[in-house]
Structures are given as structure tokens and as C-alpha cells.
């Protein structure tokens, strides 16, 4: 079955590339980028797959056991806009493409020196013949990086000025995962892409890792009364675990439950909250109304102003 899925996916990407992408590159005089375009077309296809998979997994769950029910879902629609803008992978793609050029220079320079660049396979040669294990280790390390990025979003005032847009949502759904300021998204993409390149994530595996983390993050934001149980809650981030992070008492620097995929990091750094078997209201009581109810553009402007004010020390 897995082979059949891969075959279908390959058939689709092959058709898309030959029918649309390559002729467009040819017409634009950009055929020197054909190889790269073929690699990175996966990002767009994966973006579409992400939205479809996330919707297929999360929407039935939200309909089944919602934590909250709302008549007015307009603010949720704003989060849908966020998702469609972010999920096509444009920002991580840009960061990775830009960094790839830089990385090729740096890694080539290092190779000239005869020194082995620090990626996982060269540090642990056994991984060269264990691609699945290497893949799992990449995810673990990247998730560790995401934990610390998330903590810093809550700790550094200028970063919280941006990240508070994410926490202002009082009607949290699986769409809320992408409710971020574009500057915050860019920093996140550079952080994630930079770490991926530092540890040498193979370009072909990068989109799959992004997909796994994205699906997990969306599920954790879903408006569903779902816990993974006493053991499961400590293995994978659940909607209950992450709802505590978004609870009104958890916004800002006093945040808890920062993990994205593995709660292990919260256990290790003593920021985990496994005790409260509750599904609190979400939102940031200190958020301005425009951050709560405004549209995408209004929130972006507001976030930028808050960032500037914080940097100037008047925020």
C-alpha cells in the first residue's frame, strides 16, 4: 500500500513537472533551475497535502467532541487565511533555498580544508546505512530546536510582541497553528531551516519532516476534547496538553507546555504541566481587540507596531 501511495505521488509530481513546471521554466528562460525546481516542487505539493491531511484528521475530531461551540466563526476564517498563506511551504522554502546556497559555499569550503562537515551521518557513520534511524534523529533534534524557539518566543519581550498574535485567538481550532506574524514566521523558518542544514538534513527528507511536525502541531491546536492518556500524554503532544499552553492563565512569560511534538522536552526542562485534567478557555486577556477580532492585515500591522514599540522600550 505504501508503495502504491509513493507510486501515485510520483506519477502526480512527474505529470505536474512535465506538464506545467518545466514548460514554464523553459518559457521563462530558467531551465538552469529545473533540477532544483523538481526537488522543491515537493514543497508545494506537500503544502496541499498538508492542508488536506490536517483537515481530514482534525475536522472530524472537532465535530465529534468540541471543547467549545461557537455561533460566530468569523475569527476562525482569519486563521484559515493564515493557514493557506503559510502551509504551502513558501516561507520554509525560501529560507531553505537561500540557506542552501550559503550552505553549499560553507560546506564546500570546509571540504576544501579536508575537515568533515558536522552532520549526523559523518558524526555517526552507522547512520549512513540506517536512513530511518537518521530520519528519527533529525526529527528529535529539530523538535528540540522548536521547543527552545517557542520558549524564547515567550521569554523575549520583542518576540512575545509578535507571538502574542498567536495567543490572542479565543476560538482556537486546528487552523490556529498558522496564526503568526510574518516576521515571526520568517524567524521560525530561518531557525528551523538553519538547524536542518546545520545537522545536514537531506533535502529530500526535509519536506517530510515539515509535514510530520505540521500535522502534529495542527492536531495539538484542534478544538477537541482529546487526551492521549497518562502515558500517551508524555510521549506525544496532545490537544489537551497544548490547550493548557494556550489557556488564559498561561499566556506570556508564565507559559507552560512549550513542546511541539515530544513533551519530553517539557519534562526535561521542568516546564511541563501534566496535572490539570482540564480544557481551559484560550486567549490572552491582555491582547488588544484588534489582535483578537481583526483580519489578517490588521493583525500584521498591529503586530509590527507592537514590535517596534517594544524595541524602542515603550511597549
Amino acid at each position: 500500500m505504501f508503495d502504491e501511495i509513493i507510486r501515485l505521488y510520483d506519477s502526480f509530481t512527474s505529470w505536474l513537472f512535465q506538464a506545467a513546471v518545466q514548460p514554464a521554466l523553459y518559457a521563462a528562460g530558467m531551465m538552469e533551475w529545473a533540477d532544483d525546481a523538481f526537488s522543491w516542487m515537493d514543497f508545494f505539493v506537500f503544502g496541499v497535502v498538508q492542508v488536506l491531511v490536517v483537515y481530514a484528521v482534525c475536522r472530524p475530531l472537532e465535530a465529534w467532541r468540541p471543547v467549545e461551540r461557537w455561533e460566530d466563526r468569523r475569527v476562525v476564517q482569519t486563521d484559515v487565511v493564515y493557514t493557506l498563506l503559510a502551509r504551502l511551504g513558501l516561507l520554509p522554502l525560501m529560507a531553505f533555498v537561500i540557506l542552501s546556497g550559503v550552505q553549499a559555499q560553507i560546506a564546500g569550503w570546509i571540504a576544501d580544508l579536508g575537515w568533515v562537515a558536522p552532520n549526523l551521518e559523518t558524526l555517526i557513520p552507522a547512520l549512513e546505512s540506517q536512513p530511518l534511524l537518521a530520519f528519527a534523529l533529525y526529527i528529535l533534534i529539530l523538535d528540540f530546536g522548536e521547543y527552545w524557539r517557542h520558549r524564547l518566543q515567550h521569554t523575549l519581550p520583542w518576540w512575545w510582541a509578535l507571538h502574542s498574535i498567536h495567543h490572542a485567538q479565543e476560538k482556537m481550532t486546528f487552523w490556529t497553528d498558522d496564526r503568526n506574524h510574518v516576521i515571526d514566521d520568517m524567524i521560525a523558518a530561518l531557525w528551523f531551516g538553519g538547524l536542518a542544514l546545520l545537522i545536514g538534513v537531506p533535502p529530500g527528507q526535509f519536506p517530510l519532516i515539515v509535514l510530520i511536525l505540521r500535522v502534529a502541531e495542527s492536531l495539538s491546536h484542534a478544538n477537541v476534547r482529546l487526551s492521549f492518556g497518562r502515558v500517551g500524554e508524555r510521549l506525544l503532544v496532545s490537544p489537551r496538553f497544548h490547550r493548557l499552553h494556550h489557556g488564559v492563565l498561561s499566556a506570556g512569560e508564565s507559559g507552560r507546555n512549550f513542546a511541539v511534538l515530544f513533551p519530553f522536552w517539557d519534562m526535561l526542562f521542568r516546564t511541563g504541566d501534566f496535572r490539570r485534567d482540564v480544557f481551559p478557555r484560550t486567549g490572552d486577556p491582555e491582547a488588544m481587540p484588534s489582535l483578537v477580532h481583526g483580519g489578517w492585515w490588521r493583525q500584521q500591522v498591529e503586530g509590527t507596531q507592537r514590535l517596534i514599540a517594544t524595541i524602542r522600550g515603550s511597549g
Binding site: D10, S14, F17, Q18, M31, A34, D35, G101, P202
Partner: protein
Amino acid sequence: MRRLALALPLLAAGFLPGPGRADVVFVVNSMDPGIQVVDAATRAELRQIPVLREPHHLTLSPARDVLLVGDSGGNEILFLDPATGEVKKRERIANPYNLEFSPDGKLLVVTGLRRDQVDIYGWDAPTMGLNLLGRVKPGDMPSHIAYRPDSRFTYITLQGSRAIAAIDLETRQIAWTLQVGREPAGIIWHNGKLLIGIMGSDHVAVVDPEARRVERTIRVGRGAHALFPSPGGGPIYVTSRVDSRITALDPVSLDVMRVYDVPGGPDCLSFDEQGRIWATLRWNRQLGLLDPATGEVSTSLVGRSPHGVLFRNWNMQARNEAPAAPLAR
């Protein structure tokens, strides 16, 4: 007895001589990434050689006893035994996208597509040693390689600069550059001329290296890519990745003899001793086999984005003879 025990697994894998021993095809998958060794008769995978990041091209050593594969993303060259597929050595080399030995067998030129560099290495066959003699920065995205038969000059296509660069291998300096068309890719030396696949267009440019001018263009199909002279002075085959075809050119007149539609974006080619053509089909993750006599194409699945390809005939390996067919480029 012990030797036999050691040999059995290899016999089972089809890597030692024996009755019915199969010929093999090496396929370099740039996006999986790895090198597949495929049984030419059954198309079954005999061996998978993992590669660190993003391999593209391969070439045989002058003595044809070592197969070099460049892993451009992993910054290393793998040295394989072409008879067994065994990895003999790995060496850190900056961004080895394409690589080819000079006709006199003394030098290896390596293009670094992403680093805009061309490295010239001295080759020490006994130790499989590469000694960096010089680095040239000829322009944007240096890609494919050709030589003048006397090994004095190497010619490099510059995909991002619409040009080719002639590099003097004695001084290791750029002798001249010439604009040849949008995104030039493959390049070969043929009867005193340079033939260049113009990937951003639909033709092969014929360059007179003495006069340093494009003297003729030959229309072959959109996305003209790489060129491969067939064994024994037969037709020159040109791949076109956008129109997905292989065009046969008359080796004397350079006129188009025949066009073969080969779906999937044919890229590199290698010839077997029956005159059939093994082709990597980049966008379909397939290895194609074209019979130029009938025009029939059969395919089999390989890894993602297969690029370099090399057919190896067992008898030829056993006798350690040079193949009549040129190597995949």
C-alpha cells in the same frame, strides 16, 4: 572452502563470474539518494549503495578499474569497484557535480555547479589519489565537461552565464569564453568542433573552437541537454528534457537522422554492446532502454531523479578492456 564461503554471497548477488553472469547498469539517483546496481537482463536491483546527499554524475578511471561518483551535496567523491559495486574509498571534495578524466588520463576536472568553480586534479592511479592542482572560477553554474583530444584544453558549459569557457590545462587559466545560448548543458568534442546542448532552447550549437564562434545550430527539441556519440563512429544521440525525446544525428553531416519519443525527461545515456541505449528518465524515476533499430522503449522503476548511468558488460570487465561505448555524461 573458506574462499568459497566468502564467494557465495557475491555469487548470489551476481557480482562474480559464473554461468549466466548478468551485465549490470549503474544508476545514480540524485534525490533518493544512492547508486543502484541493476541487472541489465532482468532489471532487478542487485545492490544499493547509499550516498550521503545528492549524487549526479559518474565516470570511469582511465584504466577503467575505478568508478568515480560525485556527491555534490555531500561534498565527496565515492570510488567504487565497477565489477562489484564495492566502495573502495570516499574522499572529501568540494561540490563535485560533474567529473571527467582528460584523454591522456593524467587529470580529473570536476565542476562545482553550486560553487561556480572548476577544480583540476592530478590523478594518481595506484593510490586513487586526487591532488588539487588549480581552481578556476569561470562563471555561473559550470556544468558539463569536454576536452580537446590532446588534453591541452578543457571546455566547460556555464549554465547561468549562457557561455562556455575554454580552460588551458597547462596554465590553468581561462583562455577564452564564448556566448552560445540560454543555459548550455552537455558538451562534446567532435571532429574538431564542440557540440553543445542548449537547454534553454531547442538546438545543438556547433562551435568552432579555433574561430571561437557558433557556426551552426541543429534543431533537436526543446530542452536540448546532453550529447552521446555511439560506439564505432555511429550516430550522435542528443537528449531533450522538455520535449522528452532522443534525437539521432548523423556523425558526419550532423543532420537529424531520427527522433525517438522517450517520455520522462531523458538525461544521461549509456550504450550496451548490442547498440541499445540505456537512459535515465529524470522526472519519471525510471531507467529506460531504447532500441534505436526499432524505436521501442521499455522502462523499469529506479530511485527518484535518476541522473548518471553506466552500462557495464561483464565480459568486458573480466578482460579489463576499454568499452567501445563512451561513458555517460
